[in-house]
Symmetry: C3
Subunit: 373 residues, 3 copies
């Protein structure tokens, strides 16, 4: 039995292990746009999750988590994994795409992930995954069809893959990565759309939105990051080429893109925790936890995030967001976050939400109390 | 590891602790009203809950419970609490109001709480709470906005506070308490209404109901209780002044009120368990548990409950209920309950449910098997 | 603490015990019918369950499981049981009917149970059960009203009972059983209908369906099975007589029937695990588990399944299904399954799904990865 803060129970021979997992994020936010379509002041559980994770016969891992935020059920990771020279996974898990998507929301720097991750619908699906990894690299591929939330006759097919390389250069931890995803919607599924909120999940509006029009798309994403002691830089850029389901004369398939660049600094001297064999960021080690006499870890961060859903004859809109954040890690499992964001929207033809020129501006302030076990 | 009946696991240094929590209440009831609007004979899980509770770094407590009764999700307590000289709580929990509302449903004397608690919508909200307590007193205040179930643009604000004093006078345990709550609904939230079922959750009808009309209200409640060995007396009275959202000429803001007086007697000699530092009743200690050769604890109880939702130009109705109950505690975690209630309704202008004079009578018989761990 | 693969924690004095339970079945299937109404290629979690089970004071058992497949909540077993000379159960559990229904889906031979079990709506209800058992027999009766999913004013009543006898004759384990169920729907509940999918839960259509017409029915079922080393034979036949709620002139109450005969063979020499004191099949013991150097257990099986919902003036349809299956038990808790089925449908007057002569043919191929802990 190990504690931190929940017990991890294991058998004396090391063959079996089980953890109870859970997390609660309590959010409150203020959101206002220039067109006065939204004046949000509200709270929510961004995440309220219970689950279980275990190891059996050393090489088999099972995991099952469900989220109850909003008093609805959303099954998250739910899979069985065998880990030999090759790791084989069956069940529901994320398609292998994007550094920020692969990093748990517990460890990302801002309250929400980059705009492109949701806009291009990176998400969990039901499928089969194969992966291999070394100390500083990962290779993952997967084939997917549908998810726990889908209930269609023909659920289409998705292929995805990701490679990462994360060498240590002296004191600097680097990360380079690239991934793709090709999804083909089933005949009776609704078409694909691309849309995104401003930087706050409590926002009632998505100011940029292409509407539904595509039956297939192909995603490419590129990732880079570096950690030098307390300083961290991180950036990604991604493209998605969408195939119009029923093109009219003169209509061409559009390509949308989005990405971000982020800089952060740990005021209290810690480093962001990168793991080369996972190709993602992990739990930060706090030098002086609050309940052991310290002041915890303090982090400041800034980000520029861009998503462009306007191309060819599609005017979904462009959203450029400037973000600053302050994080206080009381210990390894408790974090308070404060985010401010300002978004400039243009070329968004949804005039019910934006002005006649397709422009708008949105400000958000958000606070989060986060605990996981 | 301590057992009763579920394991509570703690680390050797006492810094960490975790419990799995759960409860099941299986109910069946017969309900009939004089107007023959309802002839219920049905069953339900009144509560079917799973959750987790833990301590981390000694002073931090986290709790997360979800209810699955009716095959729907309802997140209950979900918060993080730091307990120093001042206890600070963030998350979803009950506003600090009413002795019976603050007492877990596992420990209340009848199958349902007093009519006024639901009628005046005492409930869990998402917020921040501050509290302090001594051996025989508690002081709690909180500020709240929305809940896990709400999804509004403007979720309003609620302020609440409660003080209790519970001195031991010789062999007599006293309890005195008072609380207030002021809630201000957000602009886009639906208006407040006041309504209540007869004393049975399986009832299909709420015979008294004001309809929705208020955007703000202020609640005051007063509590008193005494435990003298096997005898217990308990009473509360509460008032709510409601602010009409869009008053018409001659309409004045109404004030509604409700309360109850209860007497109970432990036939087998136990005492109801009051805790002054919590300002609420706790788990009864059973002298001779059934599965250890005893006959368990037996309790008889009677209550008069009143709720008056008729004032000014509002004829929500008055409901006076007489209740008797018989409880059999097999052990500290298992209880069988039998309740009979007779309600007199008057001045309730909803003639689809009541007679032309606004009157009705409702009889209920309910049985519950309750287990928690 | 015992492991396999989840920990079962018990107190040193043996009075208390607790297990965390869970199971995930990941399914994918291809389904096609002759009339081209369905061309399914999809995935789902057939089951995604978390729960808890415990023993308290030696003789009391509690169990609570909830299923989250499809992102919906479905409370499964949720009861308290006292086990003395007589076992008394209160809560939600299955009515005591059918060998295959009483056998956990983890241990049945094919991916879905016999057609008649769903068609005649054998299911969990809220009620009170009494049972007694010896080494080779079981007797169970129960009275039920409604379920966690029902919310009706009058939830009717159901009576059910089952007896089994499972003697060991030399090396042969026999099982004989019979059960009945009488259900009477409440006045305000919707009428009973009988219908069934082909042999795949992902199927979008139920080709046979009587529509809703009955307010009462009586079920009789007969069971037989034999296990001789690796060979197992199993069969059931069941009848349900339905009472038409509002019969028109010349309409008589119909009687429907269904059943199956199954043969299976463990290629790797194991035996199916029957338990006479439970009257059902249990977990198979795998001789050479995969993660301990073996090849697991391999099983082949064939079944003929029939359900006839055409009688008197009702043309719900007849469905005869031929099934073959291949199961690979990696160890006691992990199983991969492959099922192929071919169904012949006739006398099914739903011409939106079948041809003008009421005929159709459906082929299904299904794969499952199953884990439980």
């Amino acid at each position: 039995v190990k504690w931190e803060p929940a017990p991890s129970i294991s058998s004396p021979d090391g063959k079996f292990e089980m953890n109870l997992r859970g997390r609660i994020y309590v959010d409150t936010a203020w959101i206002n746009d220039q067109q006065d379509n939204e004046n949000t002041q509200a709270t929510e559980f961004r995440t309220a999750r219970l689950g279980i994770e275990g190891k059996a016969w050393k090489d088999v891992k099972y995991k099952f988590e469900a989220d109850f935020a909003g008093n609805e059920v959303d099954v998250k990771d739910a899979y069985i994994q065998w880990k030999g020279p090759l790791a084989v996974k069956v069940g529901q898990f994320k398609t292998p795409n994007s550094l920020e998507e692969q990093t748990s929301s517990r460890y990302i720097t801002f309250m929400e992930r980059a705009s492109f991750t949701d806009a291009f619908s990176l998400a969990r699906q039901i499928g089969l995954g194969l992966g291999t990894s070394g100390k500083d690299y990962t290779v993952n591929v997967g084939i997917f069809r549908g998810a726990n939330a889908t209930d269609d006759e023909d659920e289409g097919l998705t292929f995805a893959g990701r490679v990462t390389y994360g060498p240590k250069m002296g004191d600097t931890q680097l990360h380079l990565g690239a991934s793709f995803r090709h999804q083909n919607k089933g005949d009776d599924q609704s078409s694909i759309r691309y849309r995104q909120r401003p930087h706050a999940h409590l926002a009632q509006n998505r100011y940029i939105d292409t509407g539904r029009f595509a039956d297939k798309d192909t995603f490419f994403g590129f990732e880079a990051a570096g950690v030098m002691g307390p300083i961290s830089l991180q950036g990604e850029w991604a493209f998605v080429k969408a195939n119009i389901k029923t093109p009219t004369t003169g209509e061409n398939d559009p390509t949308f893109n989005g990405g971000y660049i982020e800089a952060s600094y740990m005021l209290t001297g810690e480093s962001r925790a990168y793991k080369g064999s996972k190709g993602s960021f992990q739990r930060i080690k706090v030098n002086n936890p609050v309940f052991e006499g310290g002041m915890g870890a303090w982090q400041v961060a800034a980000r520029f995030d861009r998503i462009d859903l306007t191309d060819e004859t599609f005017f979904g809109g462009e959203q450029d967001t400037f973000l600053v954040g302050l994080n206080w890690y009381l210990n390894r499992h408790t974090r308070f976050m404060m985010n401010y964001s300002h978004a400039n929207i243009k070329n968004a033809t949804d005039v019910s939400k934006n002005d006649v020129n397709g422009k708008n501006k949105v400000d958000t302030i958000g606070f989060r109390a986060q605990v996981d076990w």
